[in-house]
């Protein structure tokens, strides 16, 4: 197990590249979901205003 994490002496290069890549992967999921939730909330607000007026 210790050997696995040592990556043959390249741990300092291998693990940060995996970490950064999956940071980008997760960040994009979070950004996309938040953006959709915000757009949906905004659309509901607009509908509510339209409903009051109509």
């Amino acid at each position: 197990m210790k050997e696995f994490f040592a990556m043959g002496g390249y741990a300092w290069f291998v693990w940060p590249s995996y970490l950064l890549t999956f940071l980008a992967v997760i960040a994009n999921i979070v950004i996309a979901r938040r953006s959709l939730a915000a757009a949906q909330a905004e659309a509901r607000r607009r509908l509510a205003i339209a409903g009051e007026e109509g």
Binding site: V25, A32, E42, A43, R44
Partner: protein
């Protein structure tokens, strides 16, 4: 030929609906493929005869680099469709691509630097391939900046579409830079007409990772596209229907 499917793609409510239905069909296979590829790449694949375990950076560097150019090409094609057919949904798709592409271009540059330092002996050199990839990042940032700088959505669509189409010439430059000029970067191992330059136990995790990242991109793109469509839609008629579903 029946073109109704193409015309239906121009309808925001229709695209909003099918994008929502399709998302899990991309997301779940993507997740499974990436987990399998991580196990294959980090555990099952043997170390390389020259680079030892350091070569395993390929399993994140190649997919991020692939996404960076694939997303740009998708963005430019969507922008061209939007420009030629005046299709708002296509413009919305192009706009949704940029943010994702910029992230993965940055990731490809950083993973490349982390691979370059131990193997080549330097984090960065002004090599044709590396420089072209940096220009790709600036193209994404320029595209996003241009969109952010124009208030009117229709004008922002047209101006940014022209930039996206102009920038697409950088894509073949990135791909063929290692063939056209002397470069420190190695030639492609997989993305070529010839047989891949690695054995199956190294290659299969890489292919799974490339496929997984591609499906992942489309899953994220569909979510962002839905948000973009909602944000652009001013008429209340179908919003009520879309939100109640």
């Amino acid at each position: 030929m029946d073109w109704t499917w193409f015309h239906r793609l121009a309808s925001p409510p229709h695209v909003y609906r099918i994008a929502g239905t399709l998302t899990p069909w991309f997301a779940w296979p993507a997740g499974l493929l990436i987990v399998a590829a991580l196990y294959g790449g980090l555990v099952l694949a043997p170390p390389d005869y020259q680079q030892g375990d350091g070569f395993r950076i390929i399993y994140v560097h190649a997919p991020t680099a692939w996404l960076s150019v694939m997303i740009y090409t998708t963005m430019a094609v969507a922008a061209a469709i939007g420009l030629i057919w005046r299709m708002k949904v296509a413009h919305a798709a192009a706009a949704s691509c940029a943010g994702i592409g910029a992230w993965f271009t940055a990731a490809s540059l950083v993973t490349g630097m982390l691979w370059g330092k131990p193997m080549w002996g330097t984090y960065w050199v002004w090599d044709p391939r590396l420089t072209a990839q940096l220009i790709l990042l600036f193209l994404y940032l320029g595209y996003m900046g241009l969109r952010a700088g124009i208030e009117d959505t229709a004008r922002a669509d047209r101006a940014s579409a022209v930039l996206a189409i102009v920038g697409v010439v950088n894509v073949p430059i990135i791909r063929f830079s290692v063939d056209w000029w002397n470069s420190i970067h190695q030639a492609p191992s997989v993305m070529k007409m010839d047989r891949p330059s690695m054995p199956a136990d190294m290659l299969v995790p890489l292919l799974l990772m490339l496929l997984g990242f591609t499906l992942y991109f489309f899953a994220v793109l569909l979510v962002r596209l839905r948000a973009e469509i909602l944000r652009r839609e001013r008429s209340a008629s179908w919003l009520r229907e879309a939100l109640s579903a």
